[in-house]
Symmetry: C2
Subunit: 146 residues, 2 copies
DNA sequence: TAGTATTATATAGCGTTACTAAATAGGCTG
DNA sequence: CAGCCTATTTAGTAACGCTATATAATACTA
């Protein structure tokens, strides 16, 4: 198998799996959130309060984009902004109780479906897979710095 | 490592790596294409002519969305539609020469950057990683059918 | 074969995403 | 303190993505 072919297969699988991660069909939950909003809320739920800038970096969008996304989520009462210290320019974003409830309600089915597939691997296989991906992540992030 | 934690790490890495796959920063090419347009064009370049419906399934969007995306790419003279047989309703989409040129010009750097990271693995590791992802893909697609 | 149901795509409308440009306020440095 | 940089906001615009609807083509059934 030539290298280009291996890489191409990898890319294809990556894109396929990621579509599952993003798919609203996947979790089969009827709600009014967009895919991106859902992912953003989940990220906040898992990782806690984040600044606008951090969230923008995380999703690889401009801070202005993130600010406007947070506007809409604030309007929906799913997140709130609060000022931060020691830098008064920074705004932290956190989930409201309503936001937390929503994620909890909708995440379980999503996780379960992913787990159904992930569970086919042994513990060792899981570790190995994660190790590969971590190595890739590290290297890709390095390349981004160059 | 608890199962939920392993899965969470996997998800995080997946999302990080995929952001690289999608990032226009990643390929550092100045052009007027959006990320989604670029991915779509590349898909056509690699896989040849596809129907609107097929493309919609591939990107997990509605056919109407895809039709309008193709409208814009047709307007830019990067793709063209042509009727298909034996079903007269079906429209095939193919790259123009201009579209092909553009992808060729922009893809090399993108592939090279990915390869820089992928190359850290031995051939055996690559095969193993791809095998894991294939197993995941198959299982996830099965779950979608249920 | 006629009528009905289903399917592939197109079109329009609307909210969201994502970018750029510009602005404001805060922080840092010489 | 002035100038420069930074974090976020606001506005404008094109693209994305959905729903609703329409049209034409195909498939199915009595």
């Amino acid at each position: 198998m030539k290298n280009n072919e291996a890489l191409e297969q990898f890319i294809t699988h990556m894109q396929t799996i990621n579509r599952h991660l993003r798919s609203k069909v996947f979790d089969q939950q009827p709600d009014s959130l967009t895919r991106v909003q859902w992912l953003l809320l989940r990220h906040l739920n898992r990782n806690g309060t984040r600044t606008i800038g951090q969230l923008a970096v995380h999703l690889d969008v401009r801070p202005s984009t993130m600010s406007q996304m947070i506007d809409r989520l604030e309007k929906s009462k799913l997140v709130y902004r609060e000022s931060s210290q020691p830098d008064a320019r920074v705004k932290n974003v956190a989930l409201t109780e309503e936001g937390k409830d929503l994620i909890k309600r909708t995440e379980a089915l999503w996780m379960e479906a992913l787990n159904d597939s992930f569970d086919q691997f042994t513990k060792q296989e899981q570790s190995e897979l994660i190790s590969y991906m971590e190595r890739l992540t590290v290297q890709l992030n390095k390349n981004m710095r160059n």
